[in-house]
């Protein structure tokens, strides 16, 4: 299982998960393609923390995106510790933080569209930002997929 996470689970993590399962290829996607992705620019603050199923990869691994705001580390640590305490074997779960790929345009557009609810203003910005960050996001996903066996 792969879980891509960012602040709101709306843009970078959704794009990364879509690349992982093969919904997006090498070329930079058009705005129409980005908007057609499951959960792209749709999440509200009440959705933060809820796993969003994006698909399965070629090895049948489940791939999710999720918004963990700025608290990914304590939340993931607390979950890992819980499973360890409960002696539950959850198999291979890889958490991937996509925040490092987020640029200023994505932040500004994301806040405008999601937090302020000004879609008309924020959406074009975040779409353009995602296109600009696309190579970085794709590179991150390819790196993660190439790290066979590096699952935690």
């Amino acid at each position: 299982m792969y879980i891509y996470h960012c602040y709101g689970g709306s843009h970078s993590s959704v794009t990364a998960a879509a690349i992982h399962v093969g919904l997006l290829k090498d070329e930079i996607p058009t705005t129409q393609v980005l908007m057609s992705l499951p959960y792209y620019d749709t999440q509200q603050s009440l959705d933060h923390g809820v796993l969003q199923y994006v698909g399965r990869d070629e090895n049948d691994n489940l791939v999710f995106s999720v918004g963990l705001e700025t608290v990914a580390q304590p939340v993931i640590d607390a979950i890992r510790n819980l499973f360890s305490i409960a002696k539950v074997d959850i198999g291979h779960v890889k958490f991937v933080d996509t925040l490092s790929t987020v640029n200023g345009l994505m932040k500004l557009g994301g806040v405008t569209s999601r937090a302020l609810g000004l879609k008309t203003l924020g959406r074009p910005m975040v779409l353009r930002g995602t296109q600009k960050a696309y190579k970085d996001i794709r590179q991150l996903v390819m790196k993660i997929k190439s790290e066979n066996g590096d699952v935690t």
Binding site: L51, L68, P74, I79, N81
Partner: protein
Amino acid sequence: MIYYYHCYRGAHLSSVAAAIHLELLPQDPTMDDILNLEYFDKLQFEDMGTPVLAGYDEQENPVYFVGLGKGTKVFDRFADSIIGELGLDLEFQSIDCLCCLDVIIRTGGFLSNRTGFKSLGRRLAAWGVRRKIGEIRTMVLQAKGN
């Protein structure tokens, strides 16, 4: 059943809630009762995400407290979600203690982490917790299903 009491730093509200769960505090505790709790005002920011076992209750359920920073609400949704997606049969209850937070506990917590104000902050947090003890006890009783 695994009980996870959580708050911002795991230093005050959640550690006291765990103590009430384990019946380590009298019905009407004094400030000293609270200040003398083993884990009161102990956890720090770097401990966030690491649960501390406070003990086992009368039904041998493990009772933990943990600091989650600003992630208490996100954690509850994430825990439900991942347990559901993985199809785990896990008896687990997560209790967000921030519902009992007020400005006195918040200020005490802030000061107890600042050099020179530690003692004042501890006492202020203990005073705030004592004022809220009824609410905390109700929350714990609800969690235990009593």
